[in-house]
Symmetry: C2
Amino acid sequence: MGATGSMFRGTKPIVLTASLLNSRPDDASSALHDVATAYPDVICVDYTHPSSANLNADLYGSTGLSFVMGTTGGDPGAMQRAMGPDVYAVIAPNMAKQIVALQAALEILATDFPGAFEGYQLKVVESHQSGKADTSGTAKALVRSFQQMGVADFSTEDIEKIRDADQSQARMGVPANHIAGHAFHTYRLTSPDETVSFEFQHNVCGRRVYAEGTVDAVQFIHQRRRERTVQRSFNMIDVLRQNAKH
Amino acid sequence: MGATGSMFRGTKPIVLTASLLNSRPDDASSALHDVATAYPDVICVDYTHPSSANLNADLYGSTGLSFVMGTTGGDPGAMQRAMGPDVYAVIAPNMAKQIVALQAALEILATDFPGAFEGYQLKVVESHQSGKADTSGTAKALVRSFQQMGVADFSTEDIEKIRDADQSQARMGVPANHIAGHAFHTYRLTSPDETVSFEFQHNVCGRRVYAEGTVDAVQFIHQRRRERTVQRSFNMIDVLRQNAKH
């Protein structure tokens, strides 16, 4: 656990990156109380294991610390209830702003134009490092949007997962130096008569894009806290939208 | 000029496909008056030359005929003013519903998340049959949305046009039997550090997708006219949205 300096105190947010998973709850709580006392403007950045998401949110809530949490697990409702009156948070399954924007766009399409891809066939391939066991959450979310737009005969189980280095390079074009950490996705939609096709790809190497989104989320939380907005729990769509208002 | 049968009269729309470009205006007007008298439910389908769009809209307006017009030219304001009280129309530069949906999604993204692709580099290649001289209007529209989202150093003049059969096949994968009629588009967005990339493709062979969209537009106009809606001028977004309401 390390706090990145009081030099940012004042108008800039102070960021604390927390690894609470291996701490006993009492130790973690005590440590967070000390941090909150020394650095009242601190914002915790938390990429914890899904199974610890709620425990950590409870700790931040009880110590009055605002936080940015990247998690695909936990109970968001319980997290919001645990947030004390001065706690602000961004809780999001994906911090990559551009991918969140793409996902949001497809959700808007699905809501506004539910029959736009009626009868189209879908094919989805995603490639990740071999350590990732589950199917991409983003791919699942996009598939649900395509289903709403009328895509036939495709469930999230039909998403093809590549977890093999050779396949990742040969089929998806993943650079050799990013085999250990990447997220490549290709979606192909084809009309029933095959005269029309659409392809969407979102390909990420490394972790930088998530770090950039996290910094934006921290700045967003810092600003909302300064303004003491009534809404205190946000997601990355809220972070993205802020640019439209300024 | 040929009307597709009175057998569709009643609950179904009657469609008239018009080739007025080579007619003298008086002859065309007289012919349309005859058609309107014989088939009061007729809906004209018009894929005219841009230079004739307003002339034709005036003719439909003066004879009380509703119409579906696919045009990238003309003065839409003048067309709307020419529409008599019982005239309903869909006027659209592109009748391919799925491409219109994609374009709408990117416009929504650009409005809601204007900074989402800040600093990203863009590359656009489009391929069409050799007879098409101008740059794809859809590509230009999408580029404007990407610009709004913060894409740097790219203007619509930077769109690469392929009008050569060999290039179309080799670089874009256009099937040999569709060289004479196709519309292939690839947009590639890359982050400043090149660790993140997005690719969007929309590829059309032949004309079927436009015909299908036209049929949807005719049915839409027929329905609005039956309901005598106050709004009488529509575009393909309106046609797409109707599914969301039913």
